[in-house]
C-alpha cells in the first residue's frame, strides 16, 4: 500500500467511527429495551415493538393475533398482550442484534464508543502535555535536568505498567477521570523522548538563535519557536499512541476496572459478551471488531503521515 492509500483507508476508518459514535446516537432510534421477549435477538433480526398504555414496550420477533389476544414470541419466551392496551406498533431492524437486557447492540456500541474515544483522547492530551513539558525541559534545562528527567523516563518505561494499572484500578473505585489519569500518566514517556530529540535538533537552528539574541524569554521560544515545529512529528506519533490507549482502555474496562458497570464502553461490552458467549456470539464480536477497526485505522494513519512527511523511508 502506498502512503496516500494508507492515508485514505486509515483516515476513512477513523473518521467513520468517530462520526458514527458522535452523531449516530442522535440519528438512530432503537426500540425501547424489552429484557423479556426482546433479549438476545440475533443481528439483522426484524422486530415488532408494541408500546403499551402503561409506558412499557414489548419487543418481539413474531406477533400473532389469536382469540386470547396478541401472542408475542422471541428469545424462547412468549407473552400474551391485550390488543386494547397497545398504543403504537413500530417495526425495527436490529442491525447488530440485541443484548441480554434487550438493548440494541448498535446503539450501545455507538454510545460506548463515545466514552471509549473520549477517555482515550483525554488521556492522549494528558500524555502529550506531560511528555511535551518533560521533553522540552530536558532538552533546554541544562545537563543535570536532562540527565535526571531522562533517567526518570527510563525508569517509567521499565515499569510493568499494565500490572500497576490493574492494581490501582482494582483497589480504587471505578471512575472515568481516574482512568484518564492512569492512562495518561503512564504513557507520556514516548512523547517525552520524541520531543526532547526534536528540540535538541531545533536548538541548533538559526531562527532559535535569532530569537534568543533578540531577547525572547525562554517560555516564548518554547511556545512560539519549538511548539509549531513539534506539531508534525508529534501528530504522527499520537496517531499510533491513540491506538495503544484505545487498547489499554478496552483492556481495563474488560477487566471491569475503568468505568462503573452501568456505563457501556467497548471493553466492558466485550466482557459482557464473553459472559453470554454460548447464547449470543454477536455481543462480544462487534465491539471487538470496532476496537480493531479503530486501532488499525489509527495505525494506517500514523504510518501514512510518517511516509508522507519522510519520503526517504
Amino acid at each position: 500500500m502506498t502512503g496516500v492509500s494508507r492515508l485514505r483507508i486509515g483516515g476513512a476508518a477513523v473518521a467513520a467511527l468517530v462520526a458514527g459514535c458522535v452523531l449516530g446516537p442522535l440519528v438512530i432510534h432503537p426500540p425501547p429495551a424489552d429484557p423479556v421477549v426482546g433479549a438476545l435477538q440475533p443481528p439483522l433480526a426484524t422486530v415488532t415493538a408494541l408500546e403499551l398504555d402503561d409506558g412499557t414496550t414489548v419487543v418481539a420477533r413474531r406477533v400473532e393475533a389469536t382469540s386470547d389476544g396478541l401472542i408475542a414470541t422471541g428469545a424462547g419466551r412468549r407473552r400474551v398482550v391485550d390488543p386494547a392496551r397497545v398504543t403504537a406498533t413500530t417495526r425495527h431492524r436490529l442491525l447488530l442484534g440485541s443484548d441480554r437486557f434487550g438493548r440494541d447492540v448498535l446503539y450501545q456500541l455507538l454510545v460506548g464508543g463515545r466514552i471509549s474515544l473520549a477517555i482515550a483522547a483525554l488521556s492522549l492530551v494528558l500524555a502529550v502535555a506531560i511528555g511535551g513539558t518533560v521533553g522540552v525541559a530536558a532538552a533546554t534545562g541544562g545537563r543535570l535536568v536532562d540527565a535526571v528527567l531522562m533517567r526518570c523516563v527510563d525508569a517509567c518505561l521499565a515499569f510493568p505498567l499494565l500490572f500497576l494499572m490493574i492494581l490501582a484500578a482494582a483497589v480504587l473505585r471505578p471512575d472515568p477521570l481516574l482512568l484518564v489519569l492512569l492512562l495518561g500518566g503512564t504513557s507520556w514517556m514516548g512523547v517525552a523522548r520524541l520531543v526532547r530529540g526534536q528540540v535538541l535538533s531545533l536548538r541548533t537552528r538559526p531562527f532559535v538563535a535569532a530569537a534568543r539574541v533578540s531577547g525572547s524569554p525562554w517560555h516564548r521560544i518554547a511556545l512560539w519557536h519549538y511548539g509549531p515545529n513539534l506539531v508534525g512529528p508529534v501528530s504522527q506519533d499520537t496517531a499510533l499512541r491513540m491506538g495503544d490507549l484505545v487498547l489499554a482502555e478496552a483492556t481495563l474496562s474488560y477487566l471491569g476496572l475503568g468505568v462503573p458497570p452501568s456505563v457501556p464502553t467497548w471493553g466492558s461490552m466485550v466482557a459482557q459478551g464473553h459472559r453470554a458467549l454460548p447464547e449470543g456470539w454477536w455481543l462480544a464480536v462487534f465491539p471487538g471488531l470496532a476496537i480493531a477497526l479503530l486501532v488499525i485505522g489509527l495505525a494506517l494513519l500514523g504510518d501514512a503521515l510518517q511516509r508522507l512527511t519522510e519520503p526517504g523511508t
Partner: protein, 322 residues
C-alpha cells in the same frame, strides 16, 4: 560489556524499590482494609478493630512501610491474610503457571512470526505476502482478550476440541503422568495462542521488513554469485542478520507479555500471578500484593536488562556509546 551489566544491575535496585513503594502507596491509600472485606455476621466493630491491630494495620503508614521493607530486605515477605500461608509459598505456586503460559506464548510468537515472515519475504508483494500483511494488521488491532473469546467460541464451545478454562480437568490427578501432561497441554493451547498471536503478528511485521532489507544487501548478492541455493541464502544468510532487531524487540515486549498474561489468565481462569494479584488486590491482602508486585517487577526489569545486554552483544555501537 561487563560494565554495562553492572551499571544496569545497580539501577535495578532503586527501580524495584520505586515500583514497590508506588504499590504500597496505591494499596494503602485505597479505601478499605482486609478487616473490612471480611463479611461475617458475628464480626463486631471491636473484633474488626482487634483484627486490624493483630495484622498491624492500625500502625502509622510510615511504620508499616518500614517494617515491610526491613522484612523484605532479609527475604521475608510475610504471610498472606487471604491464604493464611507464607507469601513466598503462594508466589511459588502462582509463578510456574505464568512462566509456562508466557514462555509458550513467546515461543509461539517467535516460531509463527519467523515462519510467516520468511513465507512473506520469499516473494515480496506476492499473495502470501499480502495475506500475511493483512492478517498481521488485523491481529495487531485486536485486543488479546477478544481473540481469547473468539478462540473459546470456536474451539471450545463450537467444535468442543479444547477446554475453555483452568489448567487441569476435574479429576486430572487420577490420570497417569503422560495423561496429565496431555491434559495440561490441551488446556494450554488456547491461552497461549491468544497471547502469542498478537506478538507473532508484530514479530512477522518487523522481521519481514528486516528480511527484505537483508535480501537487498551485498552479502546476499555475493552468496547468490557463489551459487548457493536460494533456500540457504534465505534461511541462513538473510535470516541471521534480520533476526537481530527482533531479539531486541522481544526483550522490550517482555513487560507487555507479562501484563498480557494477567489479562489472558483472567479470561481462562489460569491460576497464575495475574489471578493471584487480582484476588489479593480485591481482598486488600497487602503482603501478598506487595510480594507479587516485587516478583513481577523484578522479572520484567531483569527481562529488559537481558534485552539491553543482547542488544549490546548484537550491536557493537551500543557497547561504545555507554
Amino acid at each position: 560489556m561487563t560494565r554495562i551489566a553492572i551499571r544496569r544491575l545497580v539501577t535495578l535496585v532503586p527501580l524495584v524499590w520505586l515500583v514497590v513503594t508506588v504499590t504500597f502507596l496505591v494499596v494503602q491509600l485505597a479505601p478499605g482494609s482486609y478487616a473490612d472485606t471480611l463479611d461475617h455476621p458475628r464480626l463486631t466493630p471491636e473484633a474488626r478493630q482487634n483484627l486490624r491491630a493483630s495484622y498491624g494495620l492500625d500502625r502509622p503508614l510510615g511504620e508499616q512501610y518500614l517494617r515491610w521493607l526491613a522484612a523484605a530486605a532479609t527475604g521475608n515477605l510475610g504471610s498472606s491474610y487471604l491464604f493464611k500461608e507464607p507469601v513466598i509459598r503462594v508466589i511459588g505456586r502462582a509463578l510456574p503457571p505464568t512462566l509456562l503460559l508466557a514462555g509458550t506464548a513467546l515461543l509461539l510468537d517467535l516460531l509463527l512470526g519467523v515462519l510467516l515472515a520468511v513465507a512473506a519475504a520469499r516473494r515480496p508483494y506476492g499473495w502470501v505476502d499480502r495475506l500475511t500483511t493483512v492478517l498481521g494488521l488485523g491481529i495487531y488491532g485486536l485486543p488479546s482478550f477478544w481473540i481469547a473469546g473468539l478462540l473459546i467460541l470456536v474451539f471450545a464451545l463450537g467444535l468442543g476440541w479444547l477446554p475453555a478454562s483452568h489448567m487441569h480437568s476435574v479429576g486430572a490427578g487420577e490420570l497417569s503422568a503422560p495423561g496429565r501432561l496431555i491434559d495440561l497441554l490441551r488446556h494450554l493451547v488456547l491461552p497461549a495462542l491468544s497471547l502469542g498471536l498478537v506478538g507473532a503478528a508484530a514479530t512477522a511485521r518487523l522481521l519481514r521488513a528486516t528480511l527484505l532489507e537483508a535480501r537487498a544487501s551485498r552479502f546476499v548478492l555475493a552468496a547468490t554469485a557463489r551459487g548457493l541455493s536460494p533456500r540457504r541464502i534465505l534461511w541462513v544468510h538473510s535470516l541471521r542478520p534480520a533476526l537481530l532487531p527482533v531479539i531486541t524487540a522481544f526483550g522490550l515486549a517482555l513487560p507487555m507479555v507479562f501484563s498480557g498474561s494477567v489479562v489472558v489468565e483472567s479470561v481462562f481462569s489460569w491460576p497464575g500471578m495475574g489471578m493471584a494479584l487480582w484476588r489479593a488486590a480485591e481482598a486488600r491482602d497487602i503482603p501478598l500484593v506487595m510480594g507479587l508486585t516485587l516478583v513481577g517487577a523484578a522479572a520484567v526489569i531483569v527481562g529488559s536488562l537481558i534485552a539491553d545486554l543482547l542488544y549490546a552483544v548484537a550491536d557493537p555501537r551500543a557497547r561504545e556509546e555507554r
